[in-house]
């Protein structure tokens, strides 16, 4: 037997090697494609998340603005424990500014994007008093009139005076405005003739002190049109100086001048005016708020005549005089706050005196038929300016023809006057601290007006809402938004931190409230806001404890007034809802639509719910 050795064939594994190379190649191609797709997905996801983060940031600003309208600081949550809104998180840092505005910085994070917004909020801007001395159709400033400003929250006017010669003044820029024309060195008491300039000429170049020649008219730039009339030499009284200082909508202490005017208006001057600072022309619109009659508790039929020295009207702190309120010659009437007074007309006969004391509470006076004052009549505010709670006079526009409002000829008044239908002339001997808005505002020569910056926010008779003065995107990271490596909600979850709900993100909870109890006496409540008694008739002021530093925030005056009993109606509805829900039995099982409709009938929700389009289509209640 011959054995032939079998040739030994080695298994080289070439096929395995080839297949391995093929697998690697396919794997590499797949990884490349996956990488490209992931990059594209990432860019698209970041684009979406960035937009969502912008919206969450705007929501944070809105929440902070709401908190500011309630008198809080505007700070919301914190970076360590942010607030939750939708699928994102946000927190807001707030900083008080010297001009009473608040700077907000909101950081929002949504999945892979972070967005930061910055906004400056002017809190509870009163649309009337924030304009200072405002003539809707025009302003005429008499020769020698001085308009300046002070802040009653910092003290009295006298405590803020910095100069006594040639005029006693705080040196702070006042606030003067109009939608029509401004006539400096008005013709009241003067024989000066006016020189007319067109609006375009006025804004072509800003006039400076060098351009006003002594005894001459205010000069304009080289692009001016020929003046229609040259002023007569008698118009130049070199010893008379009129100082008019105005400012921007944000209270300025730099002395810059701003005169609000529409593009059709123009500035007139006989040449005796000295305008300090820069005239910054910034036309703004103004829609006069309506003058509404406030709700009162008691009513006094017919005219009420004051013949002696009366204190109050002998009634509750809320009274309507169905006729005129007349203060006879030589008599005096003192009105103490808190007080809501409504009357047809206020008539001060010769030598009559009207006194306001708002140290204990605000005074709100509504006059349907104007103010008429006789010679030597007086108007005085008794409360210290810093302790004043606010006196507001509202004169409704005339429905027919009547005489324009005439102010008392002398006195010292601290408060505001709103007469959008009247021509108001401020006498030279009536010292006015506060604000005036009238259809046409005029001052007698030598009048003294001082704008109170503290009246610009809050107040009565007009809705004072926060206003956004500035809004901007704060660039972060490499651009407008920053990429986040990990979803911030995931990070918080891993740290065991629960974000706070957005509606409760404001840290302020302790407050101090001055309210009017059922007896009409002011009482002070201090404590947690949830413990605030709900049965009080009226809330006069409140302030919060700032949790950032433990100090008290500025007082917040309630805005507007309950003109039609709306607040009581809402309270009544809320009580009905509460009763219905308290009496309802808990439902142990899940309800379908039919079951919900059946339950809603038992709750009698029809009168309580506002109808929506869906409810109109399928009425829930028979």
């Amino acid at each position: 037997m011959q054995v032939v050795p079998r040739p030994h064939t080695r298994r080289r594994g070439a096929a395995l090697l080839l297949s391995l190379i093929a697998v690697l190649a396919v794997g590499a191609i797949s990884a490349t494609l996956r990488r490209v797709q992931t990059t594209i997905d990432g860019d698209q996801r970041f684009s979406i998340d960035r937009r969502a983060a912008l919206y969450v940031a705007e929501a944070g600003i809105a929440e902070a603005t709401l908190a500011i309208s309630q008198g809080k600081s505007g700070a919301m949550a914190s970076e360590e424990i942010p607030a939750a809104f939708g699928e994102g998180l946000f927190w807001v840092a707030a900083q008080d500014r010297p001009d009473r505005s608040i700077e907000l910085r909101c950081t929002a994070q949504v999945r892979t994007a972070e967005f930061v917004l910055r906004s400056i909020i002017v809190p509870n801007l009163n649309p009337i008093t924030s304009r200072g001395f405002f003539g809707i159709e025009g302003v005429e400033i008499g020769q020698g009139t001085l308009i300046d400003a002070f802040d009653s929250s910092n003290g009295s006017y006298d405590s803020q005076v910095t100069a006594t010669a040639p005029h006693r003044t705080t040196g702070l820029a006042g606030r003067l405005g109009t939608l029509g024309q401004i006539n400096l060195d008005g013709s009241s008491g003067a024989s000066a003739e006016s020189t007319t300039f067109t609006w375009g000429e006025w804004i072509a170049e800003t006039p400076t002190d060098e351009e006003s020649k002594p005894g001459g008219e205010l000069q304009k730039g080289p692009s001016r049109a020929p003046r229609p009339q040259e002023p007569s030499p008698e118009a130049s009284t070199g010893s008379t100086v009129t100082e008019v200082s105005s400012t921007t909508a944000t209270a300025s202490t730099s002395g810059s001048t701003l005169i609000h005017a529409d593009v059709e208006g123009f500035v007139l001057s006989s040449g005796d005016a000295v305008v300090k600072g820069v005239i910054d022309l910034h036309p703004l619109g103004f829609i006069p708020p309506p003058v509404l009659r406030p709700r009162t508790v008691a009513t006094l039929n017919g005219d009420h005549m004051v013949t002696g020295a009366e204190v109050g009207l002998g009634f509750e702190s809320s009274v309507e005089v169905a006729g005129d309120l007349v203060v006879s010659s030589g008599a005096s009437l003192r009105l103490n706050g808190p007080l809501v007074l409504s009357a047809e007309a206020l008539r001060l006969e010769a030598g009559a005196q009207l006194l306001f004391d708002d140290s204990a509470g605000p005074i709100h006076v509504f006059l349907a038929d104007g103010i008429q004052s006789g010679p030597d009549s007086a108007l005085n505010s008794l409360a210290h300016e810093q302790g004043s709670q606010g006196t507001s006079l509202f004169v409704a526009p005339p429905e027919g023809t009547r005489e324009h409002a005439t102010l008392p000829t002398q006195g010292r008044f601290h408060g505001m006057l709103y007469a959008p239908g009247d021509r108001v002339v401020v006498p030279a001997d009536l010292r006015w601290l506060g604000a005036i808005t009238a259809r046409w505002l005029e001052t007698e020569p030598g009048a003294r007006l001082s704008f109170d910056a503290a009246l610009a926010t809050g107040g009565q008779g007009a809705a004072a809402t926060p206003r956004i003065a500035s809004w901007q995107i704060v660039p972060v990271g490499d651009g407008l938004a920053r990429r986040l490596a990990i979803d911030p909600r995931t990070t918080l979850r891993l740290q065991g931190i629960t974000p706070v709900p957005s509606p409760t993100a404001a840290p302020e909870t302790e407050c101090e409230v001055i309210l009017l109890d059922d007896s009409g006496e002011p009482t002070i409540f201090t404590g947690h806001v949830d413990d605030l008694p709900s049965g009080s008739e009226r809330l006069m002021r409140m302030r919060w404890v700032d949790t950032r530093n433990g100090t008290l925030r500025p007082w917040l005056r309630p805005t507007g007034a309950d003109f039609d009993g709306t607040v009581d109606a809402y309270r009544e509805k809320f009580d009905q809802i509460r009763e219905s829900l308290s009496a309802a039995q808990p439902v142990p099982h899940h309800l379908d639509e039919a079951g919900l409709q059946e339950l809603s009938r038992e709750l009698e929700m029809e009168i309580l719910l506002k109808k929506t389009a869906m409810m109109d289509a399928k009425p829930v209640v028979k």
């Binding site: 037997m1 011959q2 054995v3 032939v4 079998r6 040739p7 064939t9 494609l33 490209v36 594209i40 860019d43 698209q44 684009s47 960035r50 937009r51 912008l54 500014r97 010297p98 001009d99 505005s101 910055r118 400056i120 921007t248 909508a249 944000t250 300025s252 202490t253 730099s254 810059s256 701003l258 910054d280 910034h282 956004i468 003065a469 500035s470 809004w471 901007q472 995107i473 407008l480």
Partner: protein, 201 residues
């Protein structure tokens, strides 16, 4: 006893059959790869164009959101439109009043008669001018719009709008952008987007 050894190798038939099968499989794989590659290229291309369009519109929108509405120049009421917008951003409020940033301009600048680019300029026509090109593929006319015929061809209530168009409706500013790029197959692929914004200042 003779133990016959087997010779290594394959018969011709086996090789031919396996080769045929290999070719068929390779052809299928190639077809799948080609289709996948084409789809990937098309998808990637579309995503790129979409990204470019979204980034451009977002940049314009975010720039205009912070602008002062009272100082906005350019946008027209429909059916008119503008190829540019000039504005100033509001930087904040100081004692003297609102502080504005430098004048900025976003406009469509032609590179050829049919196409152009979107250019952002700061302090335009001045020595301190800065400029950035935000998109290089913006045609001279909006998507589906026939130029210079005085009619609204694409149903958006705007007549003869360009690849970059600004319109306004009350306080709202509308941004209309078309981006058009040529694909790998040589065909132009336009994309359009309209964004509504309100100036916050």
């Amino acid at each position: 006893m003779i133990v016959r050894s087997r010779r290594g190798g394959y018969t011709l038939v086996e090789v031919l059959i396996s080769f045929t099968i290999l070719v068929l499989i390779s052809i299928n794989i190639a077809m799948v790869l080609r289709a996948g590659r084409a789809a990937a290229v098309t998808g990637t291309f579309a995503a790129r164009v979409s990204n470019e369009l979204n980034q451009t519109v977002d940049r314009i929108a975010l720039a205009l959101m912070g602008a002062d509405a009272a100082a906005l120049d350019g946008p027209q009421l429909k059916p008119l439109s503008s190829e540019y917008v000039r504005f100033q951003a509001c930087l904040g409020v100081e004692e003297s009043g609102v502080v504005h940033g430098p004048v900025e301009e976003i406009k469509w600048a032609p590179t050829t008669p049919e196409a152009g680019r979107i250019v952002w300029r700061e302090n335009p026509s001045s020595a301190q001018e800065r400029r950035v090109v935000w998109s290089t593929a913006v045609p001279s006319t909006y998507m589906h719009e026939v130029p210079s015929n005085g009619t609204d061809d694409n149903g958006n209530a705007i007549e003869d709008e360009a690849g970059l168009a600004f319109t306004m409706d009350g306080p709202r500013v509308d941004i209309h952008v078309t981006v058009e790029r040529v694909g790998h197959d040589g065909r132009a692929r336009p994309m359009q987007r309209t964004q509504h914004i309100f100036c916050r200042n």
